[in-house]
């Protein structure tokens, strides 16, 4: 069996002492930033990108991935105990989770969140193992026209799921694509948009840009708000192991959450956030008896927490098989691969099997570590909630500076970061989401390259994108998505849905 052979390769990589350690560091950091409000997995992955270069690519990706799914576990702790979502994807968990905590049932809420996440993590890992090889096989057949249309479709989906105005989100995608074109053009050798700076010859440094947008500009916005949102009363925890009755009662919800989360994670633009919200909405509609949602129903914790973990993990599928990021964290994983000289796409699986399977197996191991980290040690995490933001943000600033500098030992990248920090602040003030921009930035060069190649093959006829059936299908899907968001009824729903984030 190929599958077992592949998994064997994966275990061989993931179970080395070094990689176990990096996996542990990843999930530990992930839990930490998940628990702390005000710093999230995207910021953390951005901050650690430059420091992961010193590691072999396998270890680097294993650690960065651990941060992302680890944060989904940590986020629920804060949501349940203090009624503040530690992560955006835990927002809906606060609704029933904190009610449970106030009724003295914080323990079972935390327990079911961790166990549900673990179950979802295991299922999602199996799903990746099964879905990735055939997807990569299909993607290998894609020519430049198909690739171009696939990327367009992915970017449109990212737009649809961004908050706020669709026009602004498309604008941010285009702006990201343009930023991605800065630097030497591979075909002609012309240096584009370098404004006379030699430091821009290799383009805008991805690390500097992402740390500016997800680290520094968020700090500026947070500092602007007067006074700190003090963490309120921390609820008493008690026994964290849920009873059998609780588990039996929740099991259907965990299953539904896992299923829905897995599907939403794969879709471009998806991931943990949308998965959690959709799962909660679904539970409210179909769970029987529906009586207690919003009033401390344990299923209202189980479903979204399973869903966000499933979604976090299955969002690796398009990233690993197609090289298409579905959310900013995945964009950073792609950035990490590129910095290690690996070009993302369907070839990664065949050319770097140790990286591919090692990463997947490490997710399962990481999930196991997370249950241990989160259930018995939850008390320790709670203490961290007392770290005030005024002591946290100087650390973020300094890590961003050191990170931006050490990628290329270039002072210029620090100034690039400073520039984009101001730009990012303006964007946040104008309600222009940075997520579409980062996705566009990563895809910019690939999009141009495939566009050029497709047009070259078709001798300059743009009809090629409509004549190739697969390409046409992607474009129709993209157009359909755009039309759907533009419809007033759906628009109203989307606004309500994304408002609650």
């Amino acid at each position: 069996m190929d599958l077992f052979h592949n998994l064997g390769v994966g275990f061989g990589v993931a179970l080395t002492v070094g990689n176990l350690l990096y996996c542990f560091i990843g999930v530990l950091l992930g839990t930490l930033v998940g628990v702390l409000p005000g710093i999230g997995p995207v910021t953390t992955v951005a901050m650690l990108l430059p420091f992961s270069f010193t590691l072999p690519p396998e270890s680097a990706l294993i650690m960065l991935a651990g941060i992302y799914y680890g944060a989904q576990y940590g986020g629920s702790t804060t949501a349940i105990l203090v009624n503040i979502p530690g992560e955006a994807s835990s927002v809906v968990t606060t609704i029933d989770g904190h009610k449970m905590a106030r009724a003295g049932r914080a323990g079972p809420a935390l327990g079911i969140a961790a166990l549900g996440s673990f179950f979802a993590g295991c299922v999602a890992t199996v799903l990746i193992t099964m879905a990735a090889p055939p997807l990569a096989m299909i993607a290998l057949q894609f020519g430049p026209a198909e690739y171009f249309s696939l990327m367009v479709c992915g970017l449109v989906a990212a737009v649809v799921l961004a908050r706020g105005s669709v026009v602004k989100a498309i604008g941010m995608v285009i702006l990201g694509l343009l930023f991605g074109l800065v630097g030497t053009d591979v075909n002609s050798g012309v240096r584009r948009f370098d404004f006379g700076f030699t430091g821009l010859a290799d383009g805008i440094e991805f690390v500097a840009l992402s740390m500016a947008l997800y680290g520094l500009s968020e700090i500026a916005v947070n500092l602007e708000k007067n006074g700190e949102d003090e963490a309120g009363e921390v609820a008493h925890i008690g026994n964290v192991w849920p009873s059998w009755a609780d588990i039996r009662y929740c099991f259907p919800s965990i299953l539904r959450g896992t299923g829905l989360g897995s599907i939403l994670g794969v879709l471009p633009g998806g991931g943990a956030l949308i998965a959690a919200f959709a799962a909660y909405t679904l539970e409210k509609k179909i769970a029987k008896p529906p009586r207690r949602f919003g009033d401390g129903d344990i299923r209202g914790v189980a479903a979204p927490e399973s869903a966000n973990n499933a979604g976090a993990q299955t969002s690796f599928i398009p990233m690993l098989t197609l090289g298409i990021p579905s959310n900013p964290t995945m964009a950073m994983m792609i950035g990490a691969m590129m910095i290690h000289g690996i070009s993302p796409g369907p070839r990664v699986m065949t050319e770097r099997p140790t990286l591919f399977w090692g990463l997947i197996v490490s997710m399962w191991i990481g999930n196991l570590m997370l249950v241990v980290l989160n259930l018995p040690l939850v008390g320790m995490w709670v203490k961290l909630l007392r770290i005030p933001y005024r002591m946290l943000f100087p650390a973020i600033v300094i890590f961003c500076c050191i990170g931006a500098y050490t990628v290329n030992s270039s002072v210029f990248d620090i100034y690039v970061m400073a520039f984009f920090a101001i730009f990012g602040y303006l964007c946040i003030k104008l309600d222009c989401e940075p997520a579409p921009l980062i996705l566009g930035f990563v895809l910019g060069p690939m999009l141009e390259e495939n566009f050029r190649r497709a047009m070259l093959i078709s001798r300059g006829s743009a009809m090629v994108f409509l004549q190739e059936p697969i390409s046409l299908a992607f474009l129709i899907a993209a157009a359909a998505l755009l039309i759907v968001v533009a419809m007033p009824a759906i628009r109203a729903k989307r606004e309500v849905a994304l408002q609650e984030e």
């Binding site: 343009l178 012309v190 600033v397 620090i414 100034y415 003030k429 047009m455």
Partner: protein, 149 residues
């Protein structure tokens, strides 16, 4: 008019237009090529045109639909933090990690305004020590630690 100048949509449109205009002006200098064999200017100009159109839509729409108004700007934290980052860039190569870290943190803490001087000193020296141990000693990144005279 008052509302227009406070509209988020309006200023987003202006920002897009500004970037689009820069894109077109700069990329105009690159060879355009033909749709068959595209030059380095083709794709950026095409993107800039789309961006400009989107910016125009936002600006025009802001005249008719009253969107959300800008919240108040408090620029001091942003400016101080950015100065801190730039100071790090100025000092890291000549004066080393310790000096750069302490200076940057002191400036960044001014942006926070909530820490007392003793706390600032503790954070600054604590983080400087942490950075040296983790980034220089453990990760062996190419960083100068002490000033270079």
């Amino acid at each position: 008019m008052q509302n227009l100048l406070r509209s988020k949509d309006f200023w987003s449109g202006i920002m897009f237009l500004a970037f689009a205009l820069t894109g077109i002006v700069v990329a105009h200098g690159y060879a355009m090529g033909t749709s068959n064999k595209m030059g380095p200017g083709y794709f950026p100009v095409a993107l800039s045109l789309i961006l400009g159109a989107l910016g125009l839509v936002l600006v025009v729409r802001a005249f008719f639909i009253e969107g959300e108004a800008l919240s108040r700007f408090r620029l001091l934290p942003l400016i101080l933090m950015t100065i801190g980052v730039v100071v790090f860039g100025f000092t890291i190569e000549q004066y080393g990690l310790v000096v750069a870290t302490v200076l940057t943190i002191v400036i960044a803490c001014l942006a926070g305004r909530e820490s007392g001087w003793i706390e600032v000193a503790l954070i600054a020296f604590g983080l400087a020590a942490f950075s040296v141990i983790v980034f220089h000693t453990l990760l062996m990144l190419p960083l100068q630690v002490w000033p270079d005279f």
